[in-house]
Assembly symmetry: C2
Amino acid sequence: MKNIDQTNKKKFMRRAIQLSKEKMLSNKGGPFGAVIVQDEEIISEGFNQVTSLNDPTAHAEIIAIRNACRKLNSYHLIGTEIYCSCEPCPMCLSTIYWAHIEKVYYANSSKDAQHIGFDDKHIFNELTKDKSQREIPIIQILPEEGKAVFNAWIEKLDKTLY
Amino acid sequence: MKNIDQTNKKKFMRRAIQLSKEKMLSNKGGPFGAVIVQDEEIISEGFNQVTSLNDPTAHAEIIAIRNACRKLNSYHLIGTEIYCSCEPCPMCLSTIYWAHIEKVYYANSSKDAQHIGFDDKHIFNELTKDKSQREIPIIQILPEEGKAVFNAWIEKLDKTLY
């Protein structure tokens, strides 16, 4: 991954911010945009569409990541950077890790988002709690039957790891 | 939400486990399945398709959530429960919170998943770290330009909150 110069960084972030504004004003969803950059070029874009698509996963970052993966024909985005108009929520940040994106730039902070009604701090807090203390109960059942499938995975010879 | 009796709980989890096995054996992805239940009926299903769709977000839970939202025409899943053949990763757990699912059942634990090569513990750890300590660098730029869009959101009269 080349080192992206400061002028380009601003250009990429301004595109993410522009998406956050335009798409919010046209009622696609909340004010959030993102672009993914490889070799100093934008390879994909995304903007929040939670309310217009009825999809709680349709955050700007998730859309941009899915678009980039489609373009690169890969479930990994090694060698890319993501520019987000707002600091990623725990869902998006986890996805950034699964996708192996290498650097994250953001404009608005999570605290800024909280001030306008998007509270992901609550989710961060829940994730760090012991399972027994979480607000949404999480209960284990049939562990032996689940385990049998994991054993079948271990024994499978033609599996694709990720 | 009705209280789901023990027999049904086992039935729903067995379906999630069945999906995890069948779809893994047919090379759709990792050994993970999930179903979403409302009023003692399965309203959606999902299975891991990360490697077959080239989509790092295509975990069983995310697919099941997106399918359920499409079916109910809503970005919230209040009044539903999710049955996952494995404890949700941080991406999926965050999505469960965004979707307002009310209860989570799982068979295999995160530790079981780690033993077969799916390490989400690492992502949980990264999320709890201070930003400056994370493996993937996360850097703020152009906060003022981002903030201007958040102010526009506050002033927007016809917005849909979520």
